[in-house]
C-alpha cells in the first residue's frame, strides 16, 4: 500500500485541510461572535461550514475512487502539517517524531461522508428544532466543534492525532449533553459522560504506551509495518513475586492445589493481546459497550438532534472505526478478537432486554443503539471488518432517522405537554400516524430497516454479520501456535469451535428482541388511540374547546425537519445496495479492500459457500417472530398480555425498568470504594502525615518549652541557688586531678624525659621501671623522670597524681625505641605529637591525620 499521492497534486492534498478547518471556523465564529451576529447569520455560518466540508468530502472520495483504477493505484491522500512532538523508543534507541497530519483512504473517506452528510442533515433539522432556544448560537458552535473533532478523529494520521479528536469528541458530548445546564441533572449527565469516556481514553493511552514500547511507532503505517513485533510474550504475573505467594497461600491452606499451582506459575500474554484489550477498553468507553455503556442512556438529557448526531450516527461509531483501523494489531491476538466478539454479542442481548421495559422513546432508542453497536462489535470481533463497518453505515442512516423522527414527535407533543419527561413518554402518545404522516412514513421505513425486513439496508448488514459470525474464525498468528518464554513454551489462545454457534444464537436472539421492542415502539407511538390530551373537534364553529385538558391536534413538523427525515428514510431503505453480500454485489467491500488488506489468519469455515443461503433463515425467522409477537401483544390485544405479565411478576419488571440497577451497582462498588479511599486519604493526610510532621513536632517542642519554663520561677533566690550549684559543679570538675605528662624523645641516644604537669596541691609518684611497683610509696612532688631505653626495647611508665581531696589519677605511657635509623629528619620535631613525625608525606593521608586529636600513644610509623 503505497502512500504516494495522485500525480496531479503536489505532496500535500489541500482539500483535507478544507474538510477540517471549515467546521472549526464555524465553531469559533458562532462561539465568540454568535450572540452579536444574530440568529440567521449563525444558521448560515453553521450550515455553510458543514456543507462545504461535505462537498469537499464527496470530491475527495470521488477522487479516491477515480484514481484507484488507474495504472498507479492511489489509495491514500495525505496532508502533513507540522511536527507536533518527538518521543523516544525503548531505552532511547530510535526517535519517534509525531507530526500533526491527516490522511484520507477508503475507510475514513466513507466515514467522513457519513459524518458530514448526516451531520449536515441534522444541522438543518436542528435549525428548526432549537429555534426558540435562547443560547441558539452556543448550540451550533458546539455542534460544529463536534463535527470538527469527529473529522480530526477519523482523518488523523496516527493514534496521537486520533486521540486529539477522540477527547475533543468526548468534550463536545460533555458540552452538548449538559447544554441546558440550568438543571443539575443534565450537567451531572454531561460530567458522567465525560468521566466514563475518560476511562476509555485511559485505555487508549495505555495502548499507545505499549505500542511505543513494543513497536516504536504510533502512526498507522508505522504500526502496520511494525505489528509483527507485538507477537512477543509479556510476563504479566510473575509466579515468584511476593504478591503471587500471598495470593496462593489461602488456596494452599484450603488444599486447592490446582488453583495454588496456577497462581504460582508465571502468567504470560502477548503484547498484541494487551494492546488489543487496552484499545477495546477505549472503544467500550466511546461506543458504550458492556462495562462502560452507562453514560449513553443518561446522555438523552441533551437535545434530541444531539442524540441523533452523537449517540446514533457518529461518535459512538468511533470505537468501530478504531478497531477497523487497528485491525493489523487486533488480528494478531485471537484472545482480544474473542473478547470483542463476546462482549459485542452480550451487549446486544443485554441492552435489548432493558429496551423492553422503557416507556421514554429516547431511552428505547438509546438502548437500541447500544444493542446495534453490540452487533457491529460482534461483526468486527469475528474478523468481518467490512460487514461490521457496513452495519455502521446503515445504522447511521436508520438510527439517525429514528431519533429525528422521535424528535419531531416530541416537538409536536411540546405544544401541550411542556415537561420534557412527560413529552417523551410513550404512554402519552398513540395514534399519531393520522397527525404526523411524513414522520410516520419515515419512522416506519427506518423501523423496517432496523427490524431487518428483507432487502432493506438493515437486513443486508445485520444478516451479513450473523453469517460471518458463524463462519469466520481467527487462527493463531504463529504457525506453531506456541511462543518461547523464559520458563518454557506457552500456547496462544485460540477461540474454541463452539463459540461461533454461541455467537450466532446470541445474534439471532438479539435480532428477535430488536424486532419486538421496535415494533412495540412504533405501535406505542403511531397506532391505537391518542392518549396525549383530548383533541378538540376541529369543526370550525366551536371556537373554545369543551374539555378542559384538551388542545389543538399535534401538527406536523415544518419542512426543515421533515426533509432530513425523508432523505434518511430513503437511505435506510436503499443503502443495502452498497454491500448486498447475499447477491455477491459488494462494491463497498472492494472499495474498502485497500484499507483493510488481506489477513491470512482470518479463515472462513470450509463449507461456508453452501451455508450462505441457509444462514439467511435466522435473520428472516427473527424478524418474522419478533414483529408478529409484538404486533399481536400490542396491536391486536391492545397491550393486555403485557399488563398481565407486569402484574404477575412486578419485581422483575421494576428491575428491568430500572436498567437492572447497574448504575446503583456502579455507584456502590466503584464510586463507593473510591470515595472511601479518598476519605481515608484525607483523614490520613490531615492526622497522620500532617499530624506527625507539624502537630507532633510542635507538641514536642511546646512540651520541652513548658518543662524548661518550670525553672523560671521568677524568684531571684532560685536563680541565685542555681548559680551556686553551677559554681559547685565547675569547682568540682576543676578539682578532679588530671595526670598529664610531656615526653621528650631522643631515639638516637635512647633518652626519654617525662615531665608531669603541675596542679594545685598535687602529689606525684612514678613507676619508671615498668614493674608495676611505684618507686616512692608516698606522694612526693617529683615532677619529672628520665628513662633510658635500649634498641627495640618497649617499656610502660606509669604516673599517679593525688589532689588535696585525696583523689588519685593514673596514666600509662608506652615508650618504644625503633630498631634502626630511618631516612628523613624523623626525630627533629619534639612536639607532644611524636607519631606525626613518623608519617611519610602522603597528601591523602595528611588530611585525615590532622583531623584526629594528637594521641599520646607512640605507634611506630605505619600510616592509618
Amino acid at each position: 500500500m503505497d502512500i504516494t499521492s495522485p500525480p496531479l497534486l503536489p505532496g500535500n492534498y489541500a482539500p483535507i485541510l478544507v474538510i477540517i478547518i471549515m467546521p472549526l471556523l464555524g465553531a469559533i465564529v458562532n462561539g465568540i461572535f454568535g450572540k452579536r451576529l444574530g440568529r440567521s447569520a449563525v444558521t448560515l455560518m453553521a450550515l455553510a461550514a458543514i456543507g462545504v466540508s461535505f462537498i469537499a468530502c464527496v470530491f475527495t472520495v470521488w477522487l479516491l475512487i477515480a484514481s484507484s483504477h488507474g495504472p498507479a493505484p492511489v489509495t491514500r491522500l495525505k496532508w502533513d502539517g507540522w511536527e507536533w512532538l518527538r518521543l523516544s523508543g525503548i531505552n532511547d534507541i530510535g526517535d519517534i517524531p509525531i507530526t500533526f497530519g491527516f490522511f484520507v483512504d477508503a475507510l475514513n473517506g466513507v466515514m467522513s461522508l457519513i459524518v458530514t452528510g448526516v451531520g449536515f442533515l441534522i444541522h438543518l433539522y436542528s435549525t428548526k428544532y432549537m429555534q426558540d432556544d435562547p443560547s441558539y448560537h452556543r448550540f451550533f458552535s458546539y455542534m460544529n466543534l463536534f463535527i470538527f473533532s469527529m473529522l480530526v478523529l477519523i482523518l488523523g494520521n496516527g493514534l496521537p492525532v486520533l486521540f486529539v479528536g477522540w477527547e475533543g469528541v468526548g468534550l463536545c458530548s460533555y458540552l452538548l449533553i449538559g447544554f441546558w445546564f440550568k438543571e443539575s441533572a443534565n450537567a451531572a449527565a454531561g460530567t458522567k459522560a465525560f468521566i466514563v469516556n475518560r476511562i476509555g481514553d485511559f485505555g487508549l493511552l495505555v495502548a499507545m504506551g505499549l505500542l511505543v514500547r513494543y513497536v516504536g511507532a504510533l502512526d498507522f503505517t508505522g504500526i502496520q509495518t511494525g505489528a509483527a513485533q507485538l507477537v512477543t510474550p509479556v510476563e504479566i504475573w510473575s509466579g515468584t513475586s511476593a504478591l503471587a505467594y500471598v495470593a496462593a497461600r489461602p488456596f494452599e491452606i484450603l488444599g486447592i492445589t490446582g488453583a495454588a499451582h496456577w497462581l504460582l506459575s508465571p502468567g504470560y500474554a502477548t503484547a498484541a493481546t494487551l494492546v488489543g484489550l487496552a484499545l477495546f477498553l477505549g472503544c467500550a468507553g466511546k461506543s458504550a459497550q458492556i462495562p462502560l455503556y452507562v453514560w449513553l442512556p443518561d446522555a438523552m438529557a441533551g437535545p434530541t438532534p444531539v442524540s441523533a448526531l452523537i449517540h446514533a450516527a457518529t461518535m459512538v461509531t468511533a470505537g468501530i472505526y478504531l478497531v477497523c483501523r487497528m485491525a493489523p494489531v487486533f488480528v494478531l491476538s485471537p484472545f482480544a478478537m474473542f473478547i470483542v466478539a463476546i462482549v459485542g454479542a452480550v451487549t446486544a442481548v443485554f441492552a435489548a432486554t432493558i429496551a423492553f421495559a422503557q416507556r421514554d422513546i429516547k431511552k428505547v432508542l438509546a438502548y437500541s443503539t447500544v444493542s446495534q453497536l453490540g452487533y457491529m462489535f460482534l461483526g468486527v470481533g469475528v474478523g468481518a471488518f467490512t460487514a461490521g463497518f457496513f452495519h455502521v453505515v446503515t445504522h447511521a442512516f436508520f438510527k439517525a432517522c429514528l431519533f429525528l423522527g422521535a424528535g419531531s414527535v416530541i416537538h409536536a407533543m411540546h405544544a401541550r405537554i411542556h415537561d420534557t419527561n412527560a413529552a417523551q413518554d410513550m404512554s402519552n402518545m398513540g395514534g399519531l400516524r393520522r397527525y404526523l404522516p411524513i414522520t410516520f412514513i419515515t419512522f416506519a421505513a427506518s423501523w423496517a430497516a432496523i427490524v431487518g425486513v428483507p432487502f432493506t439496508s438493515g437486513f443486508f448488514s445485520k444478516d451479513e454479520i450473523l453469517f460471518q459470525s458463524f463462519t469466520l474464525s481467527v487462527a493463531s498468528p504463529v504457525a506453531s501456535g506456541t511462543l518461547e518464554t523464559a520458563t518454557g513454551p506457552i500456547s496462544i489462545f485460540v477461540s474454541p469451535p463452539w463459540v461461533s454457534s454461541v455467537l450466532l444464537s446470541l445474534g439471532t436472539l438479539g435480532a428477535v428482541m430488536t424486532a419486538f421492542y421496535m415494533t412495540r415502539l412504533i405501535v406505542g407511538i403511531f397506532f391505537g388511540r391518542f392518549r396525549g390530551w383530548a383533541i378538540a373537534a376541529k369543526s370550525a364553529h366551536s371556537s373554545e374547546p369543551e374539555v378542559h385538558s384538551s388542545g389543538p391536534a399535534p401538527h406536523e413538523s415544518p419542512w426543515a425537519m421533515t426533509l432530513p427525515l425523508v432523505i434518511l428514510g430513503t437511505l435506510a431503505l436503499g443503502a443495502g445496495v452498497f454491500n448486498a453480500a447475499v447477491f455477491h454485489y459488494t462494491p463497498l467491500e472492494h472499495f474498502l479492500a485497500s484499507s483493510f488488506g488481506k489477513f491470512e489468519n482470518i479463515k472462513p469455515r470450509p463449507n461456508s459457500e453452501q451455508l450462505e443461503h441457509v444462514l439467511l433463515l435466522p435473520g428472516i425467522f427473527a424478524f418474522v417472530l419478533g414483529t408478529a409477537w409484538a404486533s399481536w401483544v400490542y396491536l391486536v390485544a391492545k397491550g393486555q398480555p403485557a399488563r398481565r405479565f407486569v402484574e404477575r411478576n412486578p419485581a422483575l419488571y421494576q428491575l428491568v425498568y430500572e436498567k437492572w440497577r447497574i448504575d446503583e451497582l456502579y455507584r456502590e462498588t466503584i464510586v463507593g470504594t473510591l470515595e472511601l479511599i479518598a476519605d481515608i486519604c484525607v483523614w490520613f493526610d490531615k492526622w497522620i502525615v500532617d499530624g506527625i510532621l507539624s502537630r507532633v513536632t510542635s507538641f514536642v517542642i511546646a512540651l520541652l518549652g513548658s518543662s524548661v519554663r518550670l525553672f523560671q520561677t521568677g524568684r531571684v533566690q532560685t536563680y541565685a541557688a542555681f548559680i551556686v550549684l553551677g559554681l559547685g559543679g565547675i569547682s568540682w570538675f576543676m578539682m578532679t586531678p588530671h595526670a598529664e605528662a610531656a615526653i621528650a624523645t631522643d631515639h638516637e641516644t635512647g633518652k626519654y624525659k617525662l615531665s608531669a604537669e603541675p596542679g594545685i596541691g598535687y602529689g606525684y609518684r612514678w613507676d619508671s621501671n615498668g614493674d608495676g611497683q611505684f618507686e616512692t610509696p608516698s606522694f612526693g612532688d617529683q615532677l619529672s623522670i628520665d628513662v633510658e631505653l635500649a634498641r627495640t626495647e618497649r617499656r610502660t611508665v606509669t604516673l599517679q597524681v593525688r589532689d588535696i581531696f585525696g583523689r588519685e589519677a593514673t596514666r600509662k605511657f608506652k615508650l618504644e625505641r625503633p630498631a634502626e635509623e630511618q631516612l628523613g629528619p624523623r626525630n627533629t620535631r619534639t612536639n607532644n605529637n611524636p607519631d606525626a613525625a613518623a608519617q611519610p608525606k602522603d597528601p591523602s593521608a595528611r588530611g585525615q591525620n590532622e583531623l584526629n586529636a594528637p594521641s599520646h600513644a607512640i605507634q611506630p610509623g605505619q600510616p592509618q
Binding site: K686, D690, S694, R695, S698, A721, V724, G728, G761, I804, F805
Partner: protein, 207 residues
C-alpha cells in the same frame, strides 16, 4: 589565753552574732544594726592583723557610709520595708538548702585548714614594724596598684551617676503591659485581628 586570743575571740563573736542578727531579724533596721556590728568586728580583726589602714577605711567607709546609706533607704521606704509574712514556702526546704550550703563551705574550710596546717603550719611570721601602716599600703597603692586605683575612682563616679539616674523620681515610666510586648505579631503589622470577619476560622488548619 593571752589578751590577743581574748580580743580575737570577742571580735569573732561580734562578727558572727552580727551576721546572724542580720539574717534572722524580722525588722530590717535591726538587720542593719547587725551588719554594723559585723563590720566593726571585722575592723577589730584587721587591727589584730596589723592592717591599721584597712581598719580605718573599714570603719569610715563601710560603717560610716554604707550602713548609714542602708538605714537611710530603710527610713525612706518606711513601713513597706517590713517583712511580709510569707510562709507559703515550706521552711523545711529553705533550712535544708541552707544547711547543705553551710556544710559544703565548712567542709571546704576544714580541708583547706588541714592542708595548710600540714604545709606551713599557718604560723604568723614576725613583721617589720610599719607593716600595716598607711605609709606602706599607700606606697604599694601608688606604685604597683596605681591603674586599679585610678579606675576605681572612675567606677565610683559612674556608680554615683547610675544611682541618681535609677532612683530619679521625675517622669512616671509606664509599666510594660503584657499585650504590647514585642512578638511575632508585632513584626507582622500590629496585633492580629481577624482580617475577614466573614471568614470562619478553618478549624482544621494545622500547627
Amino acid at each position: 589565753m593571752t589578751i590577743g586570743s581574748v580580743y580575737f575571740f570577742l571580735c569573732a563573736i561580734a562578727c558572727i552574732a552580727g551576721a546572724l542578727v542580720t539574717v534572722v531579724a524580722r525588722n530590717p533596721i535591726r538587720g542593719a544594726l547587725g551588719l554594723l556590728l559585723t563590720i566593726v568586728g571585722i575592723a577589730g580583726m584587721y587591727l589584730k592583723l596589723h592592717a591599721q589602714f584597712l581598719a580605718a577605711v573599714q570603719v569610715i567607709v563601710y560603717a560610716g557610709a554604707v550602713v548609714i546609706l542602708f538605714v537611710f533607704v530603710l527610713m525612706l521606704l518606711g513601713a513597706d520595708a517590713m517583712e511580709r509574712p510569707t510562709g507559703n514556702r515550706s521552711p523545711v526546704a529553705r533550712i535544708a538548702g541552707g544547711i547543705g550550703i553551710a556544710a559544703i563551705v565548712l567542709f571546704t574550710a576544714y580541708r583547706a585548714i588541714q592542708v595548710y596546717s600540714r604545709a606551713t603550719n599557718g604560723h604568723f611570721p614576725s613583721l617589720s614594724e610599719d607593716f600595716g601602716s598607711v605609709k606602706s599600703v599607700g606606697k604599694q597603692l601608688y606604685s604597683e596598684a596605681l591603674a586599679p586605683f585610678e579606675l576605681s575612682t572612675a567606677l565610683l563616679i559612674v556608680s554615683v551617676i547610675g544611682a541618681i539616674a535609677v532612683a530619679r523620681t521625675g517622669h512616671k515610666r509606664t509599666a510594660l503591659s503584657p499585650n504590647n510586648l514585642t512578638s511575632a505579631h508585632r513584626f507582622f503589622g500590629g496585633p492580629v485581628e481577624p482580617r475577614d470577619a466573614a471568614q470562619p476560622i478553618t478549624k482544621d488548619s494545622t500547627l
